[in-house]
């Protein structure tokens, strides 16, 4: 696909995603029925859970692209990896902010060492390291390789982190953990949640493509200026 097409596709997808997200906002404010035990606070779920899913998708893609980059050494893979990682950071930040806001009402405390929350926080820091390595390595070529190593190890460490934080919690059980989001969601809540999943995913894909075409343009500019200086 040519770079023009990617830019166009990204723009269209991002537009659809934004409008879709607006619809999800409307649905979750005015349309969906209120959950009985948690009241309105439960509505945070419609941004929190899809943001979490999207961040995991994005980090997964970043690690995958990084691994293939180390193997094939195609510059485009590295650009895709950094674009996905940036999206992952954005959505993980949303997840990490909305989660405690919900927890304050449902659990009575902003932070609990809930396994998934802890996992995402650690993941956020792993990918912070990814960007720090990229930006502070003097040789950009080496920075890309090193960042790819960070992403791969980070992704492969996830199962261990996940197991350990669950294990940790089972050692020290929380006194009250209200877990209301069971698998049996009423119809309209499920619809809203699925709509939200769709909106976040499409929005991410669109912005990912835009971010990716930015990286493409930047490297094009780099090669041009290198040619000009030679």
């Amino acid at each position: 696909m040519s770079s023009k097409k990617i830019l166009l596709a990204g723009t269209v997808l991002a537009m659809i995603g934004l409008v879709w997200l607006g619809a999800v906002y409307w649905m979750s404010f005015f349309w969906v029925s209120t959950e009985v035990t948690q009241g309105i606070a439960q509505r945070i779920m419609y941004v929190h859970v899809p943001a979490a899913w999207t961040s995991f998708l994005a980090f997964g893609l970043a690690a995958l692209f990084s691994a293939v980059y180390l193997w094939l050494r195609d510059e485009r893979l590295d650009r895709a990896a950094v674009s996905a990682a940036e999206g992952g950071m954005v959505f993980a930040t949303i997840m990490l902010i909305t989660g405690p806001l919900w927890g304050k009402i449902a659990w009575g405390t902003y932070w609990t060492w809930e396994p998934r929350l802890t996992l995402t926080l650690l993941l956020w820091f792993i990918f912070l390291g990814y960007f720090l390595v990229r930006s502070s390595t003097e040789n950009p070529e080496r920075g890309k390789r090193h960042a790819a190593v960070v992403a791969i190890i980070g992704a492969l460490d996830i199962p261990f982190i996940h197991l350990s934080v669950i294990w940790f919690r089972s050692l020290h059980p929380e006194p009250v953990v209200i877990k209301a989001e069971g698998p049996t969601l009423p119809g309209d809540m499920l619809t809203t949640l699925l709509m939200s999943f769709g909106a976040f995913t499409v929005l991410f894909l669109g912005l990912f493509l835009l971010r990716y075409s930015f990286e493409n343009l930047r490297s094009e500019l780099d090669t041009r200026s290198r040619h000009a200086s030679v």
């Binding site: 830019l7 723009t11 991002a14 537009m15 934004l18 409008v19 997200l21 607006g22 906002y25 409307w26 979750s28 404010f29 005015f30 209120t34 948690q38 009241g39 309105i40 606070a41 509505r43 945070i44 941004v47 929190h48 943001a51 940036e86 999206g87 954005v90 930040t93 949303i94 902010i97 909305t98 806001l101 919900w102 304050k104 009402i105 929005l203 912005l207 835009l210 971010r211 075409s213 930015f214 343009l217 930047r218 094009e220 500019l221 041009r224």
Partner: protein, 79 residues
């Protein structure tokens, strides 16, 4: 460049629209939400609106930052 300006302005418009919905929902929530809110844990539900506003705010921030970077680099490449 033209397309990018259109894109940026459209994005800004849509984001403002969503932002307005978010903010106005606080007012509107007087009627559909208020009764339900009082039957809950008796807490104010600012958290929900803050969460929604932060979510859209962060997305908006990312959109604008990508748009700005794209338009800057297109300007450089165009010349």
């Amino acid at each position: 460049m033209n397309r990018n300006q259109i894109f940026c302005s459209l994005v800004t418009g849509i984001s403002f629209l969503i932002g307005t919905i978010t903010l106005s929902a606080q007012e509107i929530s007087e009627f559909p939400g208020a009764q339900l809110a009082t039957q809950g844990l008796g807490r104010p539900y600012w958290h929900v609106f803050i969460a929604y506003a932060i979510a859209i705010g962060i997305v908006f921030f990312w959109v604008v930052s990508i748009g700005r970077r794209l338009s800057q680099i297109e300007k450089k490449i165009g010349n």
